[in-house]
Subunit: 207 residues, 2 copies
DNA sequence: TGAGTATATGAATGAAAGTTCAGGTTTTTA
DNA sequence: TAAAAACCTGAACTTTCATTCATATACTCA
């Protein structure tokens, strides 16, 4: 993605008055609602605006184009989960490995489940919308926080912490995505929490 | 997805003569090539037809609509990987856990890497195109084969083989997808193979 | 209160894409 | 070899959608 292309994702205008703050907020929410209602290709700017109770013109005052809208919505969501994971890591330095993994897994799943539907809807648009860019950014934040935490754990001396952390990220993000996208009923989430935590502990000890 | 909707994904006509077999083949390949060239939303039926060296009309003789085309291409790819995994499982009954996991992981990654670009391109369309349907179907095949294999391994008596197998599937599919979609250089794939196999072995023993 | 700024409107524009179909060519069949 | 069946063509039709802009309303502050 070129620099010019990135610029086009920036907001066109920042809300000044409170009514426009509310408008932008409403547009954010409406985007997700529309995304949930149908296939992603039925997400049109007009539909989003209608759902938000404003006109298309208003939408275009704050977002230079449709992609920027998706980008913004995705970013907001990922920053939320990143924050959750960073907090979980920071709060568990020097804990036993079992506690670390249990906390990290559960806070991450919690963050994705706060609004399960939103998470699922956003997976669908992550590929477009410069999603890779945001994903890479948040991945780095995850890995930094996790590395800091794991350096306070007692791991096998042979451990390649860098790759280990990356593997943990791939595993968490991947399994949770797979789980949410499948038609697995909510009660299965409990099993996922358990098994994922166990799996990661076993891996850390074995490396 | 309703029954009527499923019907609309079925091929409109099956090729009889060899030239039309070649045509359909060309359309399959062209679809992937177009998908690789640009963003998924630039995948047009006209573009695919052009690339395949036929006219749009011809395309519509064999595929009732665009979605059916994507469905068919995705299906072909997933059946390939399913076959690879089934073979790997069948060939390793009664082996030590380490061998089982090593083989399964490596044959699965191999299948995805035969044409790395194709795999990546198809991830992008898996969400549309009734992709969930095919994914569920192949998941079941994966899990059946893996269950059969693992029942010949000596696992901890407490093991819940059913969920274990599912967890293994989520982990493999998820990490490999994450790896392929990221910008990780090919040399990192070796590390993934190693760590993924180790991780799964550790998990099986710990459950 | 009134000028200046921020915000909202929504019909109109133009480009893009999915799909059809009437008419042609090639292959098979009898 | 002639009719039938399979196959191919691509301009034309239709719908859908992103985006703009001239105009109107609401808010702020001096």
């Amino acid at each position: 993605m070129t620099k010019a292309a990135l610029l086009e994702l920036e907001p066109r205008k920042t809300p000044q008055q409170s009514r426009s703050v509310a408008t932008v907020e409403a547009i954010h929410d409406a985007t997700i609602q529309v995304l949930l209602k149908d296939e992603p290709d039925r997400l049109t700017t007009v539909r989003v605006a209608e759902r938000a109770g404003v006109s298309v013109g208003t939408l275009y005052q704050y977002f230079p184009n449709k992609q920027a809208l998706l980008f913004a919505v995705l970013e907001r969501h990922l920053l939320g989960t990143a924050k959750a994971l960073e907090d979980a890591c920071a709060a568990n330095h020097f804990q036993p490995l079992e506690v670390m993994m249990d906390e990290v897994v559960n806070r991450f799943i919690d963050a994705k489940l706060v609004d399960r539907d939103t998470s699922v809807a956003l997976y669908r648009i992550a590929a477009e919308a410069g999603g890779n860019l945001i994903l890479e950014r948040t991945r780095k934040r995850y890995e930094t926080a996790m590395t800091a935490m794991l350096q306070t754990a007692n791991l096998p001396a042979s451990a390649d912490v860098n790759y280990m952390v990356h593997m943990i990220y791939l595993t968490m993000a991947g399994t949770i995505r797979g789980h949410l996208e499948s038609s697995a009923p909510p009660r299965m989430t409990r099993k996922l929490r358990e098994h994922l935590a166990k799996l990661l502990v076993a891996y850390c000890k074995a490396v």
